[in-house]
Symmetry: D2
Subunit: 285 residues, 4 copies
């Protein structure tokens, strides 16, 4: 089996490296060629175009940042579709809208290829440690074929049915995370305003029923009012918007999420979009 | 040392039992006398009035359900104040408003007694297992004197300064919990409406950054739409209201909490007040 | 000059009738032919297809219900575009999204035609009485040419610049209206719940600084809890959603509108979509 | 008949002046004596204490700014209660909480006096022009006796039943006004952000179903971003808080008002409390 990997940003590099280290035969391509070097040193081969990767590999993984980048990669000269032929598998691990994913899937299938949507939860550290959670949806056959690779990149993978379900599940998970972050932010703000020790509040919450890793990581950032990005606020803002759009389509009231969307928007408009999403705390000051 | 215990409901019985089992000398009183029996069998002594308990004990713990019950117990004939004299300590572990606590404190101090506010986080199970978290505030000397008993009843205790700080810290903690519960409820509702498996959503969240014990316990209740109360919704509703009042006093915007208060209110008005607070899920249907 | 009119629903019939009664030469077409009869009796001529109308008229007015209906009419065989040629003017008075309007405009212009977007504020009664307010945007020349007809159909018309500005202004106006309606609904609900006479509240508000025609018309509907539609709730819901989308694009926080969107959504999900938008009152019960 | 008037601020001076000009026999008192001069020049008599006024007059009107000022005036040496005896009437026209009003009423009645709560809607200009709306509640006999004076001070007066109903009706009216103000503010903000002319938006709204005097007065203040106070934002903020407290007591969801309370709070915390309540617009920037 030969595996392709397109998109060697922070996430993609970590994931592809794990594949190479696990002994898989990996062909890579990135828009900027230099990104390949570390991977090539590990043993990956470089191909001149994305199409060459897709053509050379049984299964090609794709990890880009947003819908627009995906569309460009798909339809460009030397892009993904130019390499698809009967039996080729494309596994899109990027986080994108369910509609875009459906469109990209149709284009691959029309050329005789197979498509699997497989967004992940987890950021840089879990990607490096092979501890991602992978949300597969689409071609079941391709999912099964990709499992050995998923087992290297993640600690868990699930199959969710038709294309779009992975994107939607990811949205719901991120929306919960955004709301929970804001819950902590409001608690910390009220504590500080009431002359209660915010560090002690974090300690006490960590002993209780809602203790969770995110509070331990982000809490001190709120105390320091410094937000080095691991998940940029503008991305959380976008996911909240998409979750609300999904709720419009499905007919679900989401009063908390609608409010959170406005508060995150306030933080983004105040210039916090590239900071960590915990910077929503600043919108409460 | 002799310890008193007033209020033998679910929480009080569990806490007092732990004291007796640990070998402490405990005198108890409850409004309805039958509540004493199991404790007396363990070795506690019963006193005819609350005043007798306070008079007989070096430190008396109080665990009642709300401000009104506390006030009645304080000022009644044979009540707490009737037993207070120089050096007697009263440790109020009930969850009440900061203003009420300040008033009860002043009344005790005026008679030469000592007062400590010490609300706890944790419900029935942690109370039985001696795993409460105790938020002490008020008389520092009394706090130190009560520590051996706190170590039996809880896994952690902290001293927060002046009377009121314990009540306020408790409010902030519960307010975070209420908001986080609603975050899960909205995520589960959107998942179900989008034909995503809510059980799988729970599994996936449990693998991620906001994994927390409450989601594991309450999540299945949302799937079953059955909410046996461990913390009744009407109490969470009251705490959200009190947190908003605190925010008014201190000058803090809390848009998420203001919204949550309305959604919990909606659930309470729909008759869910005595169910578990996870029944806020029903207000999203 | 010959004028065309496409779309003879409640609004279109009223508007076209005013043109005919004012002595204009009018050619009409409607998807269901019977809608023409009353107009034909007044003196309008009927054409077999929309394309025939556009071809026969100097300026053709279009009044349909939504984006989908417009798109169908535009691109269908015998549709609008099939009739457009150099110099033909199309004035789209329907309320649609700014993006759709821009797309429809481009298609007309490419064929040498002129396009004006001209949504109106006002419902059935003002349409019949020629008292609409017309929000023109797009081809300035066409706006000037259409003015005599606008003066028959409306009490005021304005020119707002590039295509999309009419649609956007309409959205802002409707969004204010939706929020103001909900303000009344909450006041009426609180009054009733507090045993204050809601009819008297209406009287008192009518004497004060926010007295407005809508309160006089909708207020009694809330008291009767009966909502015969003059502007269906589902349309207001859609406009709130579109206003929030515009706010996302432009970067504007709209916390009140975000909340109103959820409350109107709640009413729509409860089956009130076809009732008047004042039925949002039911979502507060 | 002799009438008393206590409290000669902006509102009280305007109201008392109208009584004097209408030929009523008026005795006045103000905390700072200088406030009497203009009234005395018109023909009013000055008394050394509030108690002297109440004792000398058949009916005494009171117009102070808040609950605290009222309580002080009531219970002080030489205060209202010191002057009350059998048959004396006190008409409290201040805007205060329903609970405070009930307490002040009981104190008057216990001394054999009569009490009427009579808050007004309208600010300085309507007060000067005798165009207030008066919301009477409490002693019906006193209401009837005060009617000739009400007819001089206001354009309309109503009798609402038991003490507290006037305060509550006033709250509901102001809460509607606050929400409607925010509706305009959001519309104006979105228009400006979308490069639509905000002055034209005001014109168009003024032609439509929600045209109202407040929009005409406040709209230009938003365009100028200058908010000379006619009703200070901090007072509107307080009324929204009180309306939400009433809703808690009565069991009514008020999602829009809860949100508005947070947005007005945001404006107040940003230092806009003494500006006009239309300055809530700044919280959207």
């Amino acid at each position: 089996m030969t595996y392709g990997f397109l998109g060697l940003g922070i996430m993609g590099t970590a994931m592809a490296s794990n594949l190479v280290r696990a002994g898989f035969d990996v062909v890579v391509w990135n828009r900027t060629e230099t990104a390949c070097s570390p991977l090539c040193e590990l043993g990956a081969r470089n191909a001149p175009t994305a199409a060459d990767v897709v053509d050379a590999a049984d299964i090609t993984f794709v990890m880009l940042s947003d819908d627009a980048a995906l569309r460009e990669l798909w339809y460009a000269e030397g892009g993904v579709l130019a390499g698809v032929s009967a039996g080729r598998g494309v596994v899109n691990m990027s986080t994108i809208g369910d509609d875009t994913s459906t469109e990209l899937s149709a284009a691959v299938v029309q050329l005789g290829g197979r498509y699997l949507e497989a967004p992940v939860t987890g950021t840089k550290k879990p990607a490096e440690d092979g501890l991602l959670v992978i949300l597969g949806a689409g071609d079941r056959h391709l999912y099964d074929a990709a499992l050995p690779a998923f087992e290297v990149m993640g600690k868990r993978s699930v199959y969710l049915g038709e294309v779009g379900n992975g994107a939607r599940m990811k949205l719901v998970i991120n929306m919960i995370m955004g709301n929970v972050m804001l819950a902590l932010a409001e608690g910390m703000a009220l504590a500080e305003r009431s002359d209660l020790d915010p560090g002690l509040l974090l300690d006490l919450v960590a002993e209780g029923a809602v203790a969770n890793p995110m509070f331990s990581i982000k809490g001190p950032m709120l105390i320091d009012r410094s937000y080095p990005p691991s998940f940029p606020l503008k991305h959380m803002k976008k996911d909240l918007k998409l979750a609300l759009q999904l709720a419009e389509k499905q007919g679900q009231v989401l009063p908390q999420t609608a409010e959170a969307n406005e508060t995150f928007k306030r933080a983004e408009l105040a210039g916090r979009g590239d900071e960590d999403f915990s910077a929503v705390f600043e919108a409460l000051q």
